[in-house]
């Protein structure tokens, strides 16, 4: 410290030059001085110090507590405390600075640098309606857009290109507004429409078409990272397609973009929120979700919140929040703390994964949708059937039960001759596979020693009992058996599986058995299986282990012993694993069991006088009795089937946002959720507009702030993206970054004009699209010009119209439309168009199957194709579709051999070529040349040139000749269903031509 330092006394006036400046110089200028301005702050310049860097004013005169300078030098957090990685300032120095600020932070002129704070970055100032520039060739301009474009062109001495030919123009417009090409009739009607407002009429018709919403939903779904699966290993299917349909519908209705925004970010928090508004919140439920075993649910939740914050920044603000997760933004005026303030808005949602330490499941909030009219009608019909089926069943029950008293009487009568049991002597026992045995005193045999995998016991028994009507097999427990038995399988599960109980006389003649009952049978292992002659079925006793069991087998007719009778018994046990019986005792029965199969329990009930029966007993008896009736059983099955059908009428569910608990949000040091730092409240970045006064402290407040008229980014970012979608590049080329590192707008006034126009039109997207497509700029021919090759190779000045390849889904839609296959059904669950087999193997559990759609669903627009993140539709991937695991603002537009292979060989495209060929072939009026013209027009919306005509004529003749030479070749090209059509060889030729046309660069490009 300085020599001669003395503590301050209250009332001392601070001398800036002598007391403050030296402190700043010694401790701060290294990073915040003339050579380096970390955080865009320099403390050697008064103006910058007062204005502050990205964190806000460093010094607020009179208010040391609100001055970042003081906050930071006093911080307890090592990562916050200034000077960083250096000793803290002494208390004395801190005192000086505090006092200085308290006293008004006087900073006399002439000390330090005169540097001014950097001007606010252009995009952080709200757009204002710019004055329209004057241009020389004002006739060219159709609307304000053209004035901005033309004034730049004129300043470069460039003339704009002429308007595209009408046929090319309608194709461009149709692809841009509807996403599919116009039909030949439409093109010709427009080409011949001489009315001055023909184009305007066309634009209005297209803007009103439901196809518009489908076409414009695609880029939004990329932003929303819309997919039908969770991502990661399990990548399960999840139902969220109502969100996709909501987007299509909102765009078709031209829902104001502010409302469109609020409903997606915070629809659940709106007062009197509607079903549709809740569906809209699916936007932020489209994050990936990891349910792999061992995942940390909270880590997963934090990742999801991070994704929601980053996506919100990118989609609405054209701002990369991501960098601020770990530190202040390096270039843009956003701080790490501000990141977590935005994070706080999203931090109130529940865990979406639940697990027990072994398996984990997706449990994120879902909402049932009401049944659709169709579902409801079905539901009603099934309910009606259920009522009818129940009536029938009840009626049958009543009728059958009327016979119960008589049955009881019969049973009691038959019991007069109650059965008696006589122990059977086991003369011989043999285990076929080598188990040992020991005879026990009670007449049973204990099986010992070796435990063969499967076994057959062969017993010889003898009896003096006459008139045997049945046999009893007791499987007994014993201490020597594993788990006491009665089976020999492992101690915990001493089961046995008896496949067959076969009784013969000594000569081997079978003794017929016709009834079997047991005290217990394992489900699907009924004791009756033991006498069914089928070695694949069996009697077993899981899980009633460790206790004896008994089975009785009744003979078809009584067996007479004539004094002494010998019998042979074979017990087949071939299940494997040593599931054999451990101890056996046999008895013979005499007497009658005329009511075969009635268990002792039922007999006991019947013997109880009716008045003394307990309700449970009565129920047991009636249940038993009814079960014997085939009619009742059948009717009951019918009722159950209808019940299941009813249960299958399930409502569609969709993912929605819900608030869970109020969580404290803390800055996560280095972005690590295990290192929480200071606690923060929800808030928005300082450099942008302030929060509206009435904004609530939740997502709704954030949404309101985003669409506030004073937000400088929202409108600009949106109109710029649409511009890019139509022109192939944005006015700001870096659509995803409007910060200082992003590209500057090529036409700043135009951007602001569009942004203001957008907001003032009530945030109407269709208004902006109408404006753009009406401009002369948009309507120019897209032909490249030699004079521009060097001056403006990338067409940034817009001296010609846009020309570029269609995106993945459009390539499909375009080809479907050309081939005549396109189905215009809107909405609903995702569809499964043809793709090569085996692509959905990249999966863990719960793997859904790719069941290729048939019927209309096979030919629906690309936006309805199922989107599995681990294996998106292959042809889309080849045309640069992302996997939608994260928000994508701008798709690449590559040009690869895989794309050529896709169009040439993908069966989906081959199907389209066949349909296209058939369409040409079956054209009612048709010379060869008329058909060629039709085909060409259908593909590219214009007439072929003479030369193109000649090419196609020649292709036709050559191909046809060759098919004639080799009809087998034609058969390979023509689909089976088409073989019956007339002139198959000609059809094959048209398919070839159709296939060629679908592959043309012109066909897959907008120009």
């Amino acid at each position: 410290m300085l020599a001669g330092f003395s503590p301050l006394r209250a009332g001392d006036t601070i001398n800036f030059k002598e007391q403050v400046w030296p402190i700043l110089q010694a401790s701060c200028f290294g990073c915040h001085g003339p050579d380096d301005q970390q955080g865009q702050l320099r403390l050697d310049a008064r103006a910058v110090t007062l204005h502050g860097g990205i964190g806000g004013p460093a010094v607020v005169p009179g208010k040391p507590r609100e001055s970042l300078l003081i906050q930071r030098i006093r911080s307890d957090d090592d990562e916050q405390r200034m000077p960083l990685e250096d000793d803290p300032l002494s208390d004395g120095d801190v005192d000086v600075l505090v006092k200085w600020i308290e006293q008004g932070a006087q900073w006399p002129d002439g000390i330090g640098s005169a540097a001014k704070p950097p001007p606010k970055h252009w995009s952080y100032t709200s757009p204002e309606r710019p004055a329209l520039p004057s241009v020389e060739d004002s006739d060219w301009a159709s609307n304000a857009i053209d004035l901005f474009v033309l004034s730049q062109l004129e300043s470069h001495q460039i003339t704009p290109s002429p308007e595209a030919q009408k046929r090319r123009l309608i194709r461009r417009l149709s692809l841009d507004l509807l996403g599919i090409p116009p039909s030949v009739n439409e093109v010709e009607r427009f080409a011949l429409d001489e009315r001055p407002d023909a184009y305007a009429r066309l634009v209005e018709r297209y803007l009103a078409s439901p196809l518009y919403g489908e076409r414009w939903a695609r880029p939004w779904l990329d932003l929303a990272r819309y997919a039908d699966s969770n991502g990661y290993q399990a990548d399960q299917y999840r139902e969220v397609w109502p969100f996709r349909d909501w987007v299509v519908d909102a765009l078709n209705r031209d829902m104001p973009y502010d409302q469109f925004t609020v409903e997606q970010i915070a629809g659940d928090l709106l007062p009197n929120t509607t079903l549709a508004q809740k569906i809209a919140t699916g936007f932020h439920r489209l994050t990936t979700c990891n349910v792999e075993a061992g995942v940390d649910p909270e880590a997963n939740r934090v990742e999801q919140v991070v994704d929601r914050v980053n996506t919100t920044g990118m989609v609405w603000l054209g701002t990369t929040f991501e960098c601020m997760q770990c530190h202040n933004h390096k270039y843009d005026p956003f701080t790490q703390k501000e990141y977590y303030q935005v994070f706080a808005y999203f931090n109130q949602t529940p865990l979406e994964v639940e697990g027990n330490g072994v398996s984990y499941n997706f449990v994120g909030p879902k909402m049932d949708l009401p049944l659709t009219a169709k579902q409801q009608a079905h539901h009603n019909a099934v309910t009606e059937r259920l009522v009818k089926a129940n009536v029938k069943l009840d009626e049958a029950r009543e009728r059958i039960l009327a016979g119960l008293p008589q049955w009881e009487t019969d049973l009691l009568e038959s019991l007069v001759n109650e059965p008696k049991w006589h122990l059977l002597q086991i003369d011989e026992f043999r285990s076929k596979n080598g188990a040992g045995h020991r005879m026990l005193e009670d007449g049973s045999v204990l099986i010992t020693g070796e435990r063969p995998d499967i076994d057959t016991y062969e017993l010889q028994i003898s009896t003096t009992t006459d008139a045997i009507t049945g046999f009893k097999l007791e499987t007994l427990t014993h201490d020597e058996l594993p788990g006491k038995g009665p089976g020999r399988f492992e101690a915990a599960r001493p089961n046995f599986v008896l496949n067959e109980f076969v009784l013969t006389d000594v000569e081997g003649n079978p003794i017929a058995l016709e009834g079997a009952i047991a005290d217990y049978s394992q489900p699907n292992f009924d004791v009756k299986n033991a006498i069914d002659g089928d070695l694949k079925t069996a009697w077993a006793i899981a899980t009633e282990f460790h206790k004896p069991h008994v089975a009785e087998f009744l003979t078809s007719k009584a067996i007479h012993s004539d004094g002494k009778k010998q019998l042979k018994l074979r017990l087949e046990m071939n299940y494997g694993g040593g599931r054999t019986i451990g101890r056996i005792r046999l008895s013979a029965m005499t007497g009658a069991r005329s009511m075969q199969g009635v268990s002792d329990a039922i007999v006991a009930i019947v013997k109880t006088p009716v008045a003394e029966r307990k309700p449970a007993q009565t129920k047991q008896l009636t249940d038993y009795y009814l079960k014997q009736s085939e009619e009742v059983t059948k009717l009951k099955k019918q009722v159950d089937a209808v019940k299941k059908e009813l249960a299958d009428v399930k409502p569609t569910t969709t993912l929605v946002m819900v608030e869970d608990q109020s969580r404290e949000t803390r800055v996560l040091k280095r972005g690590n959720f295990k290192s929480p730092g200071e606690s923060v409240l929800a808030g928005t970045p300082r450099v942008l507009n302030g929060l509206p006064d009435e904004a609530p402290q939740n997502r709704l407040g954030l949404a309101n702030w985003i669409v506030d008229r004073s937000n400088p980014l929202t409108a600009r970012v949106a109109v710029n993206r649409w511009w890019a979608e139509l022109f192939g590049g944005g006015i700001v080329a870096t659509e995803e970054d409007f910060g200082t590192q992003g590209d500057r707008p090529t036409h700043p006034e135009l951007l602001d004009y569009l942004a203001v126009e957008f907001m003032e039109s009530g945030w109407s997207m269709k208004h902006i699209h109408r404006l753009i497509v009406h401009s002369s700029t948009y309507r120019q021919t897209s032909k490249t010009r030699d004079d521009l090759k060097n001056i403006d190779p990338n067409n940034l000045l817009l001296a010609r119209g846009p020309r570029f390849r269609l995106d993945a889904e459009q390539i499909r839609d375009n080809a479907l439309q050309i081939s005549g296959l396109l189905q215009h059904k809107m909405g609903g669950p995702p569809v499964y168009p043809p793709q090569p087999n085996g692509l959905w193997r990249h999966v863990g559990r719960n793997a859904p199957k790719y069941a290729t759609s048939t019927g209309t669903d096979r030919y629906r627009r690309g936006i309805y194709t199922v989107w599995r993140r681990s294996a998106p539709y292959a042809s889309f991937t080849n045309f640069d579709a992302p996997d939608r695991a994260a928000c994508v603002v701008r798709r690449a537009r590559t040009n690869t051999p895989l794309q050529a292979l896709t169009l040439l060989n993908d069966v989906a495209f081959l199907e389209m070529a066949r349909a296209f060929g058939e369409r040409i072939h079956t054209l009612p009026s048709g010379s060869r040349d008329e058909k060629i013209v039709f085909a060409f027009q259908t593909a590219v919306s214009r007439y072929p040139t003479a030369r193109e005509m000649e090419i196609l004529q020649e292709v036709f003749e050559i191909e046809l000749t060759k098919f004639k030479e080799d009809a087998g070749r034609a058969k390979k090209i023509v689909d089976e269903s088409q073989q019956s059509l007339k002139d198959v060889l000609e059809l094959a030729t048209w398919i070839q031509i159709g296939h060629i046309l679908l592959n043309l660069d012109e066909t897959i490009s907008k120009g």
Partner: protein, 475 residues
């Protein structure tokens, strides 16, 4: 190709079409375009695969990256820890689990010493357990990193980190960065090829995705069943000659279109149709390993009548021979939470001979010097036992695991980093995934700090904001 040549070529084509009357059957067109070969490169200014020169003289031209999905146990393959054996069955020291979060282990786990026998091999003295006899025989070619660590302990996120440097989706993988940095050396095959044995790990196709880089840099999967490249073969037995005809007509029409509107993308597309046609023969030729002699199959343990990891190793060699710079192999099935002894034996048996065979084969062809072979996984496994000891397994472990490299630019036999007595924490020279990435890029001539791509206003790197080249491993 310079502008003059370009113009000449256009002129030639124009004449050709004029004289040949529309160019139908103009076989010359194809040969002309084929000879030229580099269409994509010459015409596209934003994203192309033309060969590029890196920042350094490359030590390796090619990379073969073997990723063992599921994470093998380093403690049962490469790292012998006597102390761990000694403590087998004892409660693990508190500091090993206090405050740690595991995927599955709960409570106070017990230690689990490896039941495999370990031996030192070669002059290097690298340790291998006895389930890797073939690999042990090439010990001196390998350089080991014993102290790799990552910050994710679930497969999906950790695989993303290992491949893309970042635990969330959306970033390019190392192969994509390499393709972006170096372009392609061949005109008949993709620059970056992926071969998969078994199913794919949790991060799915994002492990070979190009993230925010143009999709031209993403890995192209060569599948072992069905079409090796999707949509490669002509459907319904359409003959190559027929397909040739169709492509010729398409291209002649596209050329007309180019003359009309002058968009260079059209020329690129013409080139891509030509390359597609060439791929229709070059890929099946590549995939047909039955042409390989018996002694080669004996070396790899490959079998043309089957598919599997051994075949993929052989294919990897065939790919680099044909100028594919980055070959990524995935082999699934290493996640031994239980039944580790038999499970690991099995897996080791499946990869030991093929990997060793690959190294030997590359060497005998003089390709090892220019080909970097990498073997690794998304993380390692705990020294603590998971589950019943009778069918013992090990849990995920992120703090220390092994990666080895061999071939181009690698100091064979070297070893980097040391772990504690349980192979649990690095005690010396811990290596981060960005360090590893930086090293691989360095070996193929790319400076990981210079290899950037501007996206969202930021210059993104594979190594983000860190990463140091491990010069100790470099010859």
């Amino acid at each position: 190709m310079n502008n003059f040549d370009d113009a000449m070529l256009d002129l030639t084509r124009r004449e050709l079409f004029q004289s040949a009357g529309m160019g139908i059957g103009a076989a010359a067109l194809s040969s002309l375009l084929m000879a030229e070969g580099t269409y994509a490169a010459e015409t596209s200014n934003r994203m192309d695969l033309s060969p590029q020169v890196g920042q350094f003289a490359p030590k390796a031209k090619n990379v073969i990256f073997l990723h063992m999905i599921g994470a093998p146990s380093h403690l049962d393959l490469f790292v012998d820890k006597p102390k761990l054996r000694e403590m087998d069955g004892e409660k693990c020291p508190e500091e090993l689990f206090e405050g740690q979060r595991f995927a599955f282990l709960r409570g106070h786990p017990t230690m689990y010493g490896s039941t495999f026998d370990f031996q030192k091999h070669g002059e290097s003295g690298h340790t291998f357990s006895d389930v890797l006899p073939n690999l042990a025989a090439v010990a001196d070619e390998l350089a080991f990193i014993e102290t790799m660590h990552t910050d994710q302990f679930n497969h999906g996120p950790a695989q993303l980190v290992f491949q893309t440097g970042f635990q969330r989706f959306g970033r390019p993988c190392m192969g994509s960065w390499a393709s972006y940095g170096l372009g392609s050396l061949n005109q008949n095959l993709p620059a970056f090829v992926v071969l998969i044995t078994g199913s794919v790990g949790g991060a799915g196709n994002s492990m070979w995705g190009s993230g925010f880089l143009p999709t031209i840099y993403q890995g192209v999967e060569f599948r072992s069943s069905g079409d090796p490249v999707l949509f490669l073969s002509n459907p319904n037995d359409i003959s190559a000659a027929d397909r040739r005809k169709v492509i010729e007509v398409i291209n002649s029409r596209n050329l007309e279109q180019f003359k009309d509107v002058g968009d260079d993308e059209i020329k690129t597309r013409i080139g891509q149709y030509e390359m597609a046609f060439r791929m229709q023969s070059s890929v099946p030729e590549l995939m047909d390993i039955s042409q390989e002699p018996d002694h080669i199959h004996a070396l790899y343990g490959s079998d043309p009548s089957k598919s599997g990891f051994a075949n993929n190793c052989l294919l990897a060699r065939r790919l680099v021979e044909r100028g594919v710079r980055f070959v990524q192999l995935f082999d699934q099935g290493w996640d031994h939470h239980g039944g580790l002894v038999n499970g690991l034996k099995n897996k080791a048996k499946q990869v030991d001979q093929p990997v060793a065979g690959l190294i030997k084969d590359l060497k005998q062809r003089g390709l090892l010097d220019e080909t970097l072979v990498i073997w690794g996984a998304e993380f390692g496994r705990t020294p603590m036992v998971q589950g019943d000891r009778k069918s013992a397994g090990r849990d995920h472990h992120k703090d220390a695991f092994c990666v080895w490299m061999a071939g181009g630019g690698i100091k064979g036999g070297s070893r980097y980093g040391q772990t504690d007595e349980f192979g649990y924490h690095p005690v010396e020279n811990a290596v981060t995934v960005p360090d590893f990435h930086a090293t691989v890029l360095h070996l193929i001539g790319l400076d990981h700090e210079q290899l950037t791509y501007r996206y969202q206003g930021r210059d993104f790197r594979l190594t983000d904001v860190s990463g140091s080249v491990l010069t100790e491993l470099i010859a």
